[in-house]
Amino acid sequence: MPLSAIAYETEPIAEAPALVPQRPIATLTNITKRYGATIALDNLSLSLRPGEVVALLGPNGAGKSTAVKLLLGLIAPTSGAARVFGSDPREATTRTRVGAMLQVARVTEALRVRDHLDLFRSYYPHPLPMPEVLRIAQLQGLEDRLFGQLSGGQKQRVLFALAICGDPDLIFLDEPTVGLDIESRRALWQQVRCMSDQGKTVLLTTHYLEEADALAHRIIVINKGRVISEGTPSEIKRNSGDRTIRCHTDLSRDFLLTLPSVTSVEFNAGAVVVTATDAETVLREMLLRDEALSGLEIAGPALEDAFLALTRN
């Protein structure tokens, strides 16, 4: 692993490739996509800028994979426009600059890892060297295995390798870490950061909010085919507001509810859970009133809560 990469891992993610406003390399503009009577995407617009890692979050059926398929030129919009590198995503020249990891139910099992990679590398005019692909996807030592002999996590890493082997400038990762153990998941995150470092753009859809939080410069939350929120992970969290204070205390529920900015008080397994926007003030008051207060825990809004709050309706 390159040293620079390790150093990068420990640094917080730079939040702004947006320092210099760059022209987007891929856009969906006012896209509506209907399947019969159902509307998969409803006047949705989004754009990806160079070097950015963008997470597309949303519950099942929100339209995440439809958006990805439109950008890959696999389906056509009912109305609106999809552009990638300034042209139609269906064009062959556009596709040589794009890599994709899609959810595939079954991959040809009777080919070796090396065969799959050799074939996909041949599709691209300037693929990464084979050893480089094996290193990035952590497949060293597995290249002579038949695909059918691999574990679930290893199969997932082969699909990742297929996405990156052509050295694309734009990479789509649809639920990339499903079935990976924690170690491989973190290794894959590391590679995504490296790619972003090299100026490559990554769009990932994920159900792991932790993943979006750890990886993305920007999160786009979509639900029912519409963008409902967009921003950095911390912006998304900030917007959802409340923090929770959990402790053992003799203070009464009625008293706690009178404290400023408290939105709810719940008793849970002998502890009280207070939800408030201005947690510091509430806590100061509580400590003052109850010297026996113990077992204190404070939690900021998890991205998960923010996400649930956003998609509740």
Binding site: Y35, L72, G73, L74, I75, A76, A92, R95, T96, R97, V98, G99, A100, L102, Q103, V104, A105, R106, V107, T108, A110, L111, D115, D118, L119, F120, S122, Y123, Y124, P125, H126, L146, L159, L162, G166, D167, P168, D169, F172, Q198, G199
Partner: protein, 267 residues
Amino acid sequence: MATSAITHPLPTLTGSAHTLRIFGKETKYEFLKLMRTKSFSLSTIGFPVMFYVLFGIANRNAYAGNVHVAKYMLGSYACFGLIGAALFGIGVGVASELAAGWLELKRASPMPASAYLFAKCASAVAFGIIIVFILTAVATTFGGVFLSATELIKMLGMTIVGSISFASMGLLLAQLVPANAAPAIVNLIYLPMSFLSGLWMPLRFMPHWLQVFAPALPTYHLSQLMLSIFGYQDSMSLVSHWNALIGFTLLMLGLSWLIFHRKEQNA
């Protein structure tokens, strides 16, 4: 960096060499995959060879008029084998890759769609040729069949024609049939069709009404063309067999194209 390299258009010569290489690799790995998938390779090669050993060699000394039955069966089981390879390799193969999302991943890549189709077709042809070689070896060694070099070459040529023709039917089936039912449905079409057009047993040994029905089947026309190499064909003219086979192929391709485009529009 890759970006700078790609923005310059490639010289056309390199471009076509690049495309050629994709066709080569796609075909190589499709063939390897089929060969390593024992459920495919053993049954598509094994069944026609086994049938020929059972029925062809048993008839090594049988003649019907000037027709050597073992030689007749070499032609008809060659058709049976190559049709099976095309229908299963392409019909079942494409149906399952379609259902698994594998084809979608390939379509999202820069792979030319023609390379995919070419690889499937070329692999079907390769399996057809393997089957014909094995059958010929069995027939000449154990079946008392004499085959001239010209006849063998013509058989191989007809194998290519037949594989491509039935590949088009496989392509249509792949789009119509759900993947998990594909092997069963292909069998339900392939086996009766083979029997009814006299691929298992010469038509002249079958009831008259069956003989009348046979010209409605594409398998019949292919087998007649194959048998004509030995001078064993029925009374119908060769031109009409060619027309029927070409018409069938075009019909299958046309329907596949229509269905593909309808799906594409609804996607």
